[in-house]
């Protein structure tokens, strides 16, 4: 199936799924216990535990889950469903992941039917896992991921500080920027120290835009 068809279906199914998802959210709000804390684990390979792992405490229930809806097709390995009523549900949609603990089985079935009825076969189209990037490029080109190059936190802070020092002190570029009271807003939340430890209040006049 082509990428265009997939995108079309996603676009068409998007609003309807959003509506269904809105119903789901409403249901979740009505159920105070659902979505509570607790580890979500996936048991896809039976007997895959590690020697020496601490025994499960009585409080921890072993929960296994089907990672993806049945209609999606192949589910690797055998899986168990513990408890007839509730199990965790994970939905991957449009680059986002939603995890719900203790989701009742009937509601899950309804949801899956709803999702299944939106799309023409094959039914896997809108069940893609979270990280499907938005590929907007000419056919034949490699997939262009939309991740921008990340910046190191320390430098990010420095550059942000520099920008706000300029903007706060002097909105109009001028040769000698006098440090104004406006620069103090960058120090919001911080008490002004007694002596000279507040260089951020001034703007370095050496920074000229030449």
């Amino acid at each position: 199936m082509g990428a265009e068809q997939q995108q079309q279906q996603q676009a068409a199914g998007g609003s309807r799924f959003a509506a269904a998802f809105g119903l789901l959210r409403q249901y979740m709000r009505e159920q105070p216990g659902a979505g509570g804390g607790g580890m979500v684990t996936v048991g896809l390979m039976p007997g895959g535990g590690v020697d020496g792992v601490d025994a499960v405490t009585p409080e921890q229930r072993i929960r296994t889950m089907e990672l993806f809806p049945q209609q999606a097709g192949t589910v690797r390995g055998s899986h168990e469903r513990t408890g007839p009523e509730r199990a965790p549900l994970t939905i991957f949609f449009g680059g986002r992941t939603f995890v719900f603990d203790d989701f009742p089985a009937e509601k899950a079935r309804e949801l899956m039917q709803l999702a299944g009825s939106f799309c023409a076969p094959p039914p896997v189209s809108d069940a893609g896992a979270g990280a499907e990037p938005a590929c907007q490029n000419a056919p034949g080109q490699p997939c262009l991921s939309d991740l921008p190059i990340a910046r190191k936190a320390s430098l990010h802070r420095f550059l942000a500080k520099r920008k706000s020092r300029l903007a706060a002190a002097d909105p109009y570029p001028a040769p000698l920027a006098a440090p104004g009271a406006g620069a103090a807003k960058e120090t919001a939340g911080k008490a002004v120290p007694e002596d000279g430890g507040a260089p951020w209040l001034g703007v370095n006049s050496a920074l000229q835009l030449n």
Binding site: V50, D54, V75, G95, N204
Partner: protein, 672 residues
């Protein structure tokens, strides 16, 4: 014994899994084999397959004929009666029993001289007995992924440890890519440290969460012994902990807090406490933190701690530190002082730095202030200009006065012109970092502030001693990479990022250049190549696999064009232990196959990939002791930084039990 040379070699990650693997299943644990009597240090560094580590049930017990006594420890199986004496002194008595033709005494002495962890790794694999002797004589261990083992396992193997380094959060957290609640709490480790590890004097926690309670527990147990504490890019504690450390740890020589998030409570009282309680401090580093420090207390510290060599602080005006520098006669390394714009008439031409100063990093220094460094250019060995406001011309002016630089850190505002000056002037340069400046085309950065193939080639030819080189470029050619391969023979760590500023790059793809670089730089251990789609084709990626034989750590961004490239890559790179992939287009299936194929892989981090329709293709890499975790994208943020991540690593500890909601352990599942 000579002190461990931890800082001698570049800060390589000294092994991931604490328990060394044997390449065999536990049932086939190696039995002592006849071995040449002359054990030499030139044990070849084999690349071992990342096979099953030994589970605790087959932990070796010392054979009865080797009396090994440990004083003060509670190592099970090795205590042979208590000997009187100071439990803190590190004495081990090895008997005169022969093992493989070498008496234990000699063995212990020889091993004590071997500090390189890779060599120690090889030694410990010879036989059970040598493993034990190595374990008892190991002074320092780095656990590069804290979740790969448990504190008590570590203690059981290395009961005599004097120095421990732990890392937890993925490296991506330094780029704000990891959720705040991801994990990495130091509590279980500090609890174990307080109960055991009776010889521990040095602790380094990097990218972990440390609470005030944790510090209190640590201080209660180890205050009388602690010589060095580094809370490196950590968070969760406050200045109360610093005050506690200051008051109680009288032997503290190193307090390192760089880039940590510290909650501020009683102003900078902790600094006053440190200044008045401690006289042996050699290193105080709270650079890149928001901690406040008044010049008066800093002066007090410098006056009382006559051995102070390294002082790295947060913002403090240089004009207020004049007295400090006049007093600090042993100071070698200073960072953090900043400049006050109001001090317009401030003349820094005659600023006094003690003659011992060799390393400087001054914040917010501008064109008018850089003259402060002119008289000291010739003595400077390290210069950090990343956080300054200098132009390209300023960089040229400054660097040309510093012919003895060994370490230079700048933003790419230095430009090709500045790098040409570096190449001409800094012949002894060992480490060069060119960080990414502001992308704002509005002119905050100098127009000449671009690094291209011109600067790269100049530096490659001009600075043959380079060992570490990280550079952000705006343009590149194959010839530049070939030049690096031809001239930079000492490189062990090379990282290149091709920025998105220019639409058109002079020469793409860079396949041939990368091949030449990897072939030429035979000592390369760490390699990062973050480019754009089309810059490294599938063939180029296969070159990386084929010629990156010695590389242990790799980061690839936008590399390859399809799964074929990744699979070809995975057939090579025999030494690759840690792999980070970002913004690539590989499918889950290919990632899983590659993870299984890379012989030495112990740690895999991926952000940006082609998900499978069912999301279960990733399970193809399921295997024992291999934790697979999925970090869900941040649901509140539509921005791409919220993209999902895969983290997979070898672990003896089983699945994490402290996962937040954003982290989903896919394998193993607890209890199954």
């Amino acid at each position: 014994r000579p002190p461990p040379s931890r800082s001698r070699t570049p800060p390589a990650e000294k092994g991931f899994c604490v328990v060394r693997t044997t390449g065999r299943t536990p049932e086939n644990f190696p039995i002592p084999i006849p071995y040449p009597l002359s054990f030499s240090h030139s044990t070849p560094r084999r690349t071992r397959p990342p096979a099953l580590p030994q589970p605790p049930s087959s932990q070796p017990h010392p054979p009865p004929h080797t009396p090994v006594e440990i004083r003060g420890g509670t190592d099970r199986g090795a205590d042979r009666g208590s000997a009187p004496g100071d439990g803190r002194r590190d004495e081990r008595h090895l008997g005169r029993t022969m093992s493989l033709g070498i008496p234990d005494v000699a063995l212990g002495l020889v091993m004590g001289c071997v500090e390189d962890p890779w060599d120690r790794d090889a030694i410990s694999l010879v036989c059970r007995h040598w493993c034990k002797v190595d374990a008892l004589s190991r002074k320092h261990v780095t656990v590069a992924m804290a979740y790969s083992t448990t504190p008590d396992r570590l203690f059981r193997r290395f009961p005599c440890l004097e120095s421990l380094k732990l890392k937890a959060k993925p490296r991506a957290s330094m780029f704000n890519l990891i959720p705040e609640d991801w994990g990495g709490s130091a509590s279980p480790w500090i609890r174990e440290l307080s109960a055991s590890f009776h010889f521990l004097k040095v602790l380094h926690l990097r990218r972990m969460i440390v609470s005030d309670d944790d510090v209190a527990v640590l201080v209660r147990a180890k205050a009388h012994m602690l010589v060095s504490l580094k809370l490196d890019r950590c968070s969760g504690f406050s200045t109360s902990s610093l005050a506690l450390l200051a008051r109680c740890c009288k032997k503290l020589e190193t307090l390192f807090l760089e880039e940590s998030s510290v909650a501020e409570k009683e102003n900078d009282e902790w600094l006053r406490e440190l200044a008045t309680s401690n006289t042996v401090l050699e290193t105080l580093n709270f650079f890149l933190t928001d901690l406040r420090a008044s010049p008066a207390y800093l002066f007090l510290l410098v006056r009382n701690c006559r051995r102070l060599k390294t002082l790295k602080i947060s913002d403090c005006f240089m004009s207020d530190l004049v007295d400090l520098f006049r007093t600090a006669e042993t100071l070698q390394d200073f960072a953090g002082g900043s400049f006050d714009d109001q001090d317009q008439g401030g003349n820094y031409a005659n600023y006094y730095f003690p003659p011992s100063v060799q390393r400087l990093s001054l914040l917010y220094m501008g064109t008018n202030e850089m003259q402060i460094l002119f008289p000291y250019g010739a003595t400077l060995k390290k210069l950090d200009l990343q956080f300054t406001f200098l132009t390209t011309e300023d960089h040229c002016q400054l660097v040309q006065r510093c012919p003895n630089l060994e370490v230079l850190e700048v933003r790419d505002v230095i430009g090709d012109r500045g790098l040409e000056v570096v190449a001409r002037t800094c012949k002894k340069l060992q480490r060069l970092r060119v960080e990414r400046g502001d992308d704002d085309q509005g002119g905050l950065e100098d127009e000449q502030g671009r690094v291209t193939q011109v600067g790269l080639m100049a530096v490659a030819e001009g600075c043959p001693d380079l060992e570490y080189w990280a550079v952000h470029v705006s343009d590149i050619t194959n010839a530049a990479l070939e030049a690096i391969g031809a001239f930079s023979k000492n490189l062990n760590d090379f990282r290149l990022v091709l920025l998105d500023r220019e639409v058109h790059i002079t020469e793409l793809p860079l396949d041939n250049g990368v091949r030449a670089l990897l072939r030429g730089c035979t000592k390369l251990r760490r390699f990062a190549f973050y480019v754009r789609p089309g810059a490294l084709s599938d063939i180029g990626l296969s070159y990386v696999g084929e010629f990156g034989k010695t590389v242990r750590y790799m980061l690839l961004g936008n590399a390859g064009g399809s799964d074929d490239g990744l699979l070809a890559f995975a057939r090579g790179c025999p030494s690759l232990q840690k792999l980070e992939l970002r913004s690539c287009c590989f499918s889950e299936r290919a990632l899983a196959v590659a993870a299984l194929q890379l012989k030495s892989l112990r740690y895999l981090w991926v952000q940006g990939y082609k998900a499978s329709p069912t999301g279960t293709d990733l399970m193809a890499m399921v295997r024992p002791f291999w934790n697979i975790e999925f970090i869900a994208p941040n649901q509140d943020e539509p921005c791409p930084e919220g993209q999902a991540q895969i983290l997979a690593y070898y672990s003896l500890a089983g699945a994490r039990t402290d996962c937040p909601h954003s982290v989903i352990p896919l394998y193993p599942s607890v209890g199954s």
